[in-house]
Amino acid sequence: MDRRNFLKIIGSGVAGAATGNLLRPGRASASEGRSAKELYGILVDTTRCIGCRRCEKACAEVNGLSVPDISESKNESVLKNMRKTSDTEYTIINSYKTDKGTIFVPKRCMHCNQPGCAAACLVKAMKKRPTGQVTWDSNCIGCRLCMISCPFDIPKFEYSKAMPRIQKCNLCYDRYNKGELPGCVEVCPTQALMFGSRRQILEEGKRRIAVNPDKYVDHIYGEYEVGGTSHLYLSSVPFEQIGFRKDLGTRPYPEYSTGFLYAVPFIFVLWPIAMLGINRATKGNGKGKEEHHG
């Protein structure tokens, strides 16, 4: 071993020790340790939500939408109705009367692992980012295919605008890039929302169920539904009771159409040939008959 090689090894050893000290083992860090290889999402614990609608307000603020009034009296009247997300409300809270009392459920884009909306988009305006967020882009042509393809009824169309586009939650992609938490998570007063990598929040969800088996139903909504989502939900009552669809299955939505879509070029190419074949076959027969008669 020469001197040069020796120094190399020693050097890398020192560097390794230094970085090893920085990257402490144990807890995965959120902003510092954000990895491009992981999907990020939010764990929503519906048992913790108190229906204060601060997330709605924060969402409107960070996205430059009209800020809702979240005073006590207003909240009461708003929460009486079942609402849906809209082009100016990317996140909403609904209240459900169940046998375990009133349960508040924040609803927003589920950020599917294999989003139907992104698969349906003709111009690739809807994108699944490598870090989990499903975002929309400016080249939206307003075809509304994403609205049809979404199993959770999330993308909403700006019907009131002259140049309408699709709007929906983008998991605060801007804030994420700057190392911030999504607006709703930042303001939640009960930490009903937990931001983290999908692996982390799934683990945490499972831990909560394991520690409080009486409190939660043993299911994390979004773990397997439509192939898994980045938004996960915990609940104390069966999910049907708080407005979640249980009939979605575990098959990712794009997969329903891929088989068919792959068949399209096959049909396009072979259709003329088939027609030609039939034509040739029938024509030939006619000629034969004519000859026979003639």
């Binding site: 006590e72 140049m163 700057k178 911030e180 607006g183 939640c188 007063p189 930490q191 068949a263 040739r280």
Partner: protein, 568 residues
């Protein structure tokens, strides 16, 4: 010609494939919903289906009106034995059909048809009003989607007391052998095996409920009962109804219509007494000690004086603690566990957290009640697996003092230092948006002390007022705080901002909300559930609650859109 054939063949195959592909894509089947089954009021009717023998029924079940049959038979001076078999000792066995048949589909079906229709035909021959003999008259189509289920009857201690008194009037002495018996498994002559011995009375469930794990001796006895088909249902119908039938006429003459009922719905009312309602009812005396001293030989812990007498009234049955037999716990559970006790050692038998029969399990259940749950829902349960439990907690039961069960004095707030224990605590975490919240610290202490003093169990276990502080000031280590006399502040552990290293860590804002609201929710308090009750609106409240905006994306997008659509 050959070429044409190939062309046609290929194109036909192609079209077939295409149609097949399209149908598979577009024909996703809808799930078939199961039929909705409607629950009927029992009204002395019985559903005859025997799905355990027939499986899926070819024809709809029969809803049999028992009372109607009973009444019409009574007119002809016929009794229960017209339909139900009678054994050698003149005891009516409430079985049907009367003939003993094999338990397979055809024999059971034939037995039913023979018995029912023969009687119906016979009555018709006698020119009496009678029942149907045509299939659909009994197997009505509308009956396939209804269900009749009787609620289980609960023979509580109030009924027991009544029966004991009445029987004493009838017979003139205490004879529990009228109902209670035990089975001598060593007796070879089966007819002599059923014996009664005073002081061994137990619940019917111990022998007549099968399918539960039990010790070797009881298993042998339950096997005999199972062989005879004496389920709890059959055994109690046989035992109760035979006796009721015997005395019913006597009471009817006296004009007591409701005494000795034989009608289904008279017993199966579906109404159950609560523990509180049964509190005053005396429990049967079986020579049990009032305050036994439980001391396990060679165990490390000191003995426990157990207030058996008071605990008797805390549950509806003896079975809730004495789960398999009415013996002392140490008959089956010893220090190392033995087969009779299913291998469960005595430490777990008393302290198992999730058992309904153990001390700790039951106490833990009690702590879920709304008065206790406010604090206890955050406190991890104490069981044998708890690491380093407080000495005082163990000593509350393990006193080692025989026959002494001194109730500790109720808690008092008189000794609290006004300086250290603040009357009102101002919380200013959301100061930007709201006026500071005023937390009535002292009022809450007073309330908790009252709640604790109202309950006998809480008074016994909360011996020190500091115990109540732990309800909110959780995770405090008493040894560490021995030097200081203030429990830790919330801020000492919970940070005001998110911990970026561990986003799951509770921050101060949510610690307050979850602690306060969690307790109010668990205690089912009306107060303090609305935002404005704690947070008074502030004048000139800032509208913004977030720091950073997402407007970059929005702005950029709008700009590009404008560029795209207005290219000038």
């Amino acid at each position: 010609m050959n070429r044409k054939l190939i062309f046609t063949g290929v194109s036909i195959i192609y079209i077939i494939l295409l149609i097949y592909g399209l149908t598979t894509v577009y024909s996703v089947g809808n799930p078939v919903l199961p039929k909705k089954v409607e629950g009927l009021k029992p009204e002395n009717k019985i559903s005859i289906a025997h799905t355990e023998i027939f499986g899926k029924l070819e024809r709809p079940q029969v809803i049999f009106n028992h009372k109607k049959h009973e009444e019409s038979l009574k007119k002809d001076n016929e009794g229960c034995n017209t339909c139900h078999p009678v054994n050698k000792e003149d005891v009516i066995l409430f079985d049907f059909p009367k003939k003993d048949t094999k338990k397979d589909k055809t024999s059971v079906m034939n037995a039913y048809h023979d018995e029912c229709m023969d009687c119906h035909k016979k009555k018709a021959r006698e020119n009496k009003k009678t029942g149907p003999v045509v299939c659909a008259d009994c197997h009505g189509k509308e009956l396939s989607s209804v269900k009749i289920q009787y609620p289980v009857f609960e023979f509580n201690f109030e009924y027991h007391e009544k029966h004991v008194k009445k029987l004493k009037e009838k017979i003139g002495k205490d004879d529990c052998g009228q109902c209670h018996h035990s089975y001598d498994i060593n007796e070879e002559d089966e007819s002599l095996a059923l014996v009664y011995e005073k002081g061994t009375e137990e619940s019917c469930y111990y022998c007549h409920e099968f399918g539960k794990k039990r010790g070797p001796e009881l298993t042998a006895i339950t096997k005999v009962a199972e062989k005879k088909g004496l389920t709890i249902r059959k055994a109690s119908h046989q035992q109760c109804l035979n006796c009721h039938l015997k005395y019913q006429q006597e009471y009817l003459k006296k004009g007591e219509k409701d005494a000795c009922p034989t009608e289904c719905v008279k017993c199966h009312t579906g109404k159950y007494k609560t523990v509180a309602e049964l509190e005053k009812v005396p429990r049967p005396d079986r020579d049990q000690k009032d305050k036994p001293f439980i001391n396990i030989e060679n165990s490390k812990m000191k003995g426990v004086t157990f207030d058996h007498k008071s605990h008797e009234t805390y549950s509806k049955t003896c079975r809730s603690c004495h789960h398999e037999t009415l013996n002392a716990c140490n008959t089956c559970h010893n220090l190392t566990g033995k087969p009779e006790g299913n291998g469960i050692n005595v430490a777990n038998a008393y302290h198992h957290m999730f058992s309904e029969h153990s001390c700790s399990g039951c106490h833990n259940k009690k702590k879920e009640e709304k008065k206790c749950a406010g604090c206890h829902h955050t406190i991890p349960a104490m069981d044998v697996e708890t690491m380093n439990p407080k000495k005082e907690s163990c000593a509350a039961c393990h006193s080692g003092k025989k026959d002494q069960l001194a109730m500790p004095k109720p808690l008092s707030t008189a000794g609290l230092d006004q300086q250290k224990v603040k009357k009102v605590v101002e919380i200013k975490v959301l100061e930007k948006e709201f006026e500071p919240s005023k937390f009535p610290h002292r009022d809450i202490i007073d309330k908790l002390v009252k709640v604790s003093n109202d309950s006998k169990m809480a008074t016994y276990f909360h011996r020190n007022i500091q115990t109540l502080c732990d309800g909110c000031h959780h995770r405090s280590i008493s040894e560490a705080e021995a030097q200081k006399d203030t429990p830790p502040n919330c801020k000492n552990c919970h940070m005001t901002s998110y911990d970026r290293q561990n986003l799951n860590k509770t921050r101060l804002l949510s610690a307050y909300h979850r602690q306060c609201l969690g307790c109010h929710e668990k205690m089912e308090l009306e107060k303090g559930r609305k935002c404005t009750e704690c947070h008074k609106e502030k004048k000139g409240r800032p509208t913004e609650i977030t720091q950073m905006k997402n407007q970059n994306v929005v702005k950029q997008n709008t700009e590009t859109i404008i560029n795209v659509w207005r290219p000038e």
